[in-house]
């Protein structure tokens, strides 16, 4: 990744650097940063030192689904382990390598969209700084049954810029899981990640991001999903770690019959803050999008959900749903929801709703009447609450992996005695 970067890429990095510098930092009062803690955007570790870490330790901790189709382990954006057993024709390479070997293919898809949900400055920073990530290209009529799994470790008070670019050809299928973790529990790292997801015609693209960083780290994750005619994209986010995480998820439905599922489970505790902005953009008629975000808040934590469904003028027969549900486990947590609709077409079925609730005494009573202690009863109910979104992954191994991270979080909460 040193000398042979294509010219188009270096040119884009240079212009992105200028754009980053000229774009103002978000400030209080910006609509797209409403309720957000702007102080989190003071990044002291942009030029921080990366730490080396014990590779074999990290590799052994990089467990994911049973029998992955491919498995990559990154430490601070450098590959430390990889193994693949993928069908012929599938390209699945570290981005740095793909830039050398498949420069044209990468160029066709790399960061084509203007960032619209508030983090244009950080998208530019990512573009200017990105060194690596994963490039996945599935040829037409090729199905990858097992999961491509990517472990991203960050070590040191540094910043990483992991990029995930997935392109599915006609009638193809793939599932990719990114897992973001810190090498230790006490070093504050910063991750500015970007995901470009292109579901080609009649294809199926599943993308799962598991954010389980240590609780002093921060993350910005920007995702651009494009779903073509008769294809189905499914994007899932799990937030258990980080002091602060901001997810901006854009989903464009760009052909009749396109379907997009946008799913998320967040379980913040202590002072953790998860800020999620979404955009369901119905460009074509006869498209369908379904968003379900479920937050379970403990301690003094805070969530922000701001979602917009936008239906273009000619996008008739759109079905669009948006649901954000918050389960408040303490009196001190704070859930903010800002759902929105913008409809410019006819015969559209749209609904959006958000709720915030505590567990009802009656529910606890039922579990307690079976001998289950109140704390455990609350946790069983909270876990069950998250499962609705997890089950929509429709893949047992993936669901099991996501639940493993959810259970780890709940056991930390139980020990923390919140």
């Amino acid at each position: 990744m040193t000398s042979t970067l294509p010219a188009w890429f270096t040119a884009r990095q240079e212009s992105a650097k200028t754009r980053y510098e000229s774009t103002p930092t978000p400030k209080r009062g910006d609509e797209q940063w409403r309720f957000a803690n702007i102080k989190q955007l003071k990044f002291d570790n942009l030029s921080g030192e990366a730490n080396e870490a014990d590779h074999s330790d990290l590799i052994s901790r990089s467990t994911g689904v049973e029998t992955p189709a491919a498995k990559f382990v990154f430490l601070n954006d450098a590959v430390i382990s990889s193994e693949t057993s993928l069908p012929e024709g599938v390209i699945c390479l570290p981005l740095a390598e793909a830039l050398e070997k498949h420069s044209d293919l990468v160029e066709q898809h790399f960061m084509k969209q203007e960032s619209r949900l508030g983090s244009a400055k950080y998208a530019a920073l990512h573009e200017a700084s990105v060194k690596n990530g994963l490039f996945v290209h599935i040829p037409d009529n090729t199905e990858v049954e097992d999961t491509i799994e990517v472990h991203h470790w960050i070590s040191g008070e540094t910043t990483v810029f992991p990029h995930t670019l997935i392109v599915t050809g006609k009638s193809s299928k793939v599932r990719v899981i990114d897992i973001f973790r810190s090498a230790d529990d006490s070093t504050p790292g910063l991750t500015i990640g970007y995901k470009d997801l292109y579901a080609g015609q009649n294809s199926s693209l599943d993308y799962i991001a598991i954010q389980a960083l240590n609780e002093v780290s921060r993350m910005i994750a920007i995702k651009e999903t494009s779903t073509a005619r008769d294809s189905r994209s499914r994007a899932f986010i799990l937030n258990t770690g980080a002091a602060w995480a901001r997810n901006e998820s854009m989903s464009r439905l760009e052909g009749p019959g396109a379907h997009s599922d946008m799913l998320s489970v967040s379980i913040p505790d202590h002072e953790q803050e998860f800020d999620q902005r979404t955009f369901q953009h119905h460009v074509s008629p006869n498209t369908n999008s379904d968003l379900l975000y479920k937050n379970t808040l403990y301690g003094h934590s805070k969530t922000i959900f701001s979602g917009l469904i936008s239906v273009n003028e000619k996008a008739h027969h759109t079905d669009a749903y948006q649901t954000c549900r918050n389960l408040l486990m303490t009196d001190d947590c704070e859930a903010n929801s800002m759902p929105g609709l913008e409809i410019n077409a006819d015969q559209v079925a749209c609904s959006h709703g958000s709720t915030s609730a505590q567990i009802a005494d009656e529910e606890i009573f039922y579990l307690q009447a079976r001998g289950i202690a109140p704390d455990q009863a609350r946790q069983l109910i909270a876990r069950g609450y998250s499962i609705e979104a997890v089950m929509r992954l429709k893949n047992e191994k993936t669901e099991a992996l996501v639940l493993k991270f959810i259970d780890e979080k709940f056991s930390r909460i139980a020990i923390g005695g919140v």
Binding site: D361, E362, E363, F365, Y366, L367, Q368, A369, R370, G371, I372, A373, P374, Q376, A377, L380, I381, R383, G384, Y385, S386, I387, E388
Partner: protein, 263 residues
């Protein structure tokens, strides 16, 4: 045989004993106005009574529901006062309440729910034997004619009324309590479902177990034969007798309770 069991139970105070129990709603309205009732191990008692008589409240107070404040009297189990015990402690000690309206628990499978309940009875660090657990669960589900798919379904979510009641009995069979309180387990059941539920309850009859059936209708008692029948009205037990009392109530209706001779 029952005779011997009785005397043994009495000697060891093996009973659920409710003594002059008073309980009120948070707003001060008194619902139970001095209930006294002893259910010895080995016996089945039934409480009948009109709506609003306090039957369901009694079951909830025994389980320690926090909407009702006990204001006087006490409840002992095998001689031990349980008044200070929490809901889950009472359950683990051996009291089971089959709910009239069982709650749904989204995202928690039936198998995991019952397992968590059993696990709560074990000392820390000790785990349920999974193989033995499923064997026992399936046996009981077969008896209650429940499809195996119920193990994976979320607790009571989308269950019909009858399925929920069967699920309560399944939990009761799995937890193997000393004292079972069934709150209108027969309501909302068709005759076939009622027979299945009764089969489960009858299978649990044991010299070591006491049962209290709370019901509105005599019909349930055709399938589960009680040893004693009590009539509750306005927060008190106003009449007690044998199984024939249920038939008398069925025939005459609850109005006959209002006759002064009964007071």
């Amino acid at each position: 045989m029952p005779f011997r069991v009785h005397s043994l139970s009495n000697f060891l105070h093996m009973s659920l004993h409710i003594q002059d129990l008073h309980a009120s709603l948070e707003n001060g309205t008194e619902i139970l106005r001095g209930v006294t009732l002893e259910i010895p191990a080995g016996e089945i008692h039934a409480i009948m009574g009109p709506n609003g008589s306090g039957k369901s409240t009694l079951s909830k107070v025994i389980a320690s529901h926090k909407s009702y404040l006990p204001t006087a009297g006490k409840i002992t189990m095998d001689g031990k006062d349980i008044s200070e015990m929490s809901i889950d402690e009472r359950s683990r000690a051996g009291i089971f309440l089959a709910f009239q309206y069982p709650n749904e628990v989204p995202g928690v499978s039936n198998a995991n729910f019952i397992r968590a309940a059993l696990q709560s009875r074990l000392p820390k660090g000790q785990d349920i034997d999974a193989v033995g657990y499923y064997k026992s669960l399936y046996e009981k589900m077969d008896l209650l004619e429940m499809d195996r798919k119920f193990t994976a379904r979320a607790v009571n979510e989308g269950f019909s009324g009858g399925e929920k009641k069967r699920n309560e009995i399944l939990q009761m069979m799995m937890l193997d309590p000393k004292y079972c309180i069934m709150d209108e387990t027969d309501s909302g059941l068709d005759i076939d479902a009622l027979k299945i539920v009764a089969k489960g309850v009858n299978a649990m009859r044991s010299p070591d177990r006491g049962m209290l059936l709370i019901t509105h209708y005599q019909r349930l008692l055709d399938y589960i034969k009680p040893d004693h029948v009590h009539v509750m009205s306005e927060g008190r037990i106003v009449k007690s007798g044998g199984p024939e009392l249920a038939l008398e109530l069925e025939e005459k209706g609850y109005d006959f309770l209002k006759e002064p001779a009964l007071a």
